[in-house]
Amino acid sequence: MELFIDQVLNGINVGVIYASVALALVLIYRTTGLLNFAQGELALFSTFITYWIAVEQDVPIWAALLLSFAVSFIGGALIERILIRPVEGAHSPLNVVIVTLGLFLAVNALAQLIFIKPGQEALRMPGFFPSGDLALGIRNSTAGFAAVLVAECVLLYLLLQKTKLGLSLRGVASNPESSRLVGINTGTMLMVGWALAAGIGAIAGSLAATRGSGFDTSLMQQILVYSFAAAALGGFDSPLGAVVGGLVVGIADSLTIQYVDALDGIELVVPFVLILVVLLVRPNGLFGRTIVERV
């Protein structure tokens, strides 16, 4: 039983990362209607920025995260405006795939070129939380990660539900044409959507980098697959679904590793099958709205 609880806690620890990246994917899907295959790599780049500020510039880690969030926020907005805008509205899945995969390759390679010195293997991100247990066998980092996720959700909820900016964002996600008719600059909202997603990605990546002994440019690639599974499970347009989906996928993965020997080494089957089944059986996910064809 204790082992079981340990594995669930472990699942929550990693599930928080999946939930955050899924949240970023959902924000972009809601505003621009596209799946961002480069989301993980953008988060990777942000993670290197956090690392560079914290370690090379010797800034406290939380301040470094805040700065990294800000830089990523601006970067996300610029990427949307410059690279993504031309393929939006074309409704060509091939073009979206090409641009986001091009971004995937380029950003990953740039991170390698800029941040990794020749001969360097893995980098060590300073911890955000002191090591050790909080209580009842719950690690500080697990509790801390969960607190970060809760804070993210609360802030995002307040932004979306209680501010004019949030109302505009929701309006654009719901009906872009009507949004323009009430005077909303939809282009700006798409930039804000990407900016928020990049910022959340920065947090997710920086947290993820503290798991394990070190990180390199492959940090986010497996996480991205799990996060897509989380977003698919929750529904690509549901922030709540992303969070629930992320935690479910994280716990399921953790329990699979512990209890299903047949899947030893191929735990990735779990998110893959999840994506497949959800898309085939219930494309809107658990929390997604039903897409109604408009007249």
Binding site: K164, L167, S168, R170, G171, S174, N175, E177, S178, S179, R180, L181, V182, G183, I184, N185, T186, R289, V292, R294, V295
Partner: protein, 238 residues
């Protein structure tokens, strides 16, 4: 007569390679209700979309309140005081009625938004009952009310309505036009209405235009238009 609030001069517009409007001239004076009549495909909806800058290629001049709006983006035109209730209503289906109305006022900076909300809830009590319900779950008539109330929330100087009676039961349509007439009388709000139901629309209008294949073929005072035997037979069907 003072300068018109809205003036279209020699407007040519369409979609891609298809030209729908061929040199259209049209005016709406401040405070009046003007109505555009015509058969399906005559270019009525295209005219409204051209005014709001929703078409790619528009030639000619469209001016609002004396300044040209041809080159402006849709959201800028909306912010300058033109509200469109699009055909098929264009509500934010998965957002609540309350959110829909607040989105109508999203461009406003003044403090009167809450008061306006109460005011239109009083005028459309059905909306008040359903203020927390998703807009898409309401009936067609209720959504039409919502779309109009949302447009009014922006405090427009000019309200454009595209086939407000579409898909509504006759009694509801009649009620709707009575309310539109009332809003025009009490608020002095200028309206341009596209409508197939000619008799109802002409009843609240001061001016009428008849559109056929992208050209105005008849225009004049609404009462005169309704009385003109030739126009009635050929275009209005009553």
């Amino acid at each position: 007569m003072s300068a018109p609030l809205l003036r279209l001069h020699d407007v040519t517009a369409g979609y891609g390679p298809v030209t729908v409007l061929h040199g259209l001239d049209l005016e709406v004076a401040e405070g009046e209700v003007a109505v555009i009549l015509g058969a399906n495909g005559a270019g009525k909806t295209t005219t409204l979309r051209a005014i709001l800058g929703m078409l790619d290629k528009v030639k000619g001049d469209i001016s609002f309140d004396g300044s040209s709006i041809n080159k402006k983006a849709t959201q800028a035109i909306a912010r300058s005081g033109i509200a469109l209730v699009p055909q098929g209503r264009g509500t934010f289906g998965d957002l609540s009625v309350d959110d829909n109305l607040r989105l109508g006022a999203i461009a406003r900076k003044d403090k009167g938004i809450g008061a306006d909300l109460d005011r239109w809830y009083d005028m459309f009590p059905r909306l008040k009952e359903r203020r927390d319900q998703a807009a898409g779950s309401m009936s067609g008539g209720e959504q039409q009310m919502l779309a109009i109330a949302r447009a009014l929330m922006s405090r427009p100087r000019l309200l454009l309505l595209d086939e407000p009676s579409l898909g509504l039961a006759p009694l509801i349509t009649k009620d709707l036009f009575e309310r539109l007439g009332e809003i025009n009388r009490t608020e002095g709000l200028t309206m341009l209405v596209v409508e197939q139901n000619a008799s109802l629309a002409l009843a609240i209008a001061q001016r009428g235009y008849v559109l056929e294949t992208g050209n105005i073929v008849a225009s004049g005072e609404a009462s005169a238009l309704a009385a003109d035997e030739d126009v009635r037979k050929a275009y209005l069907g009553f």
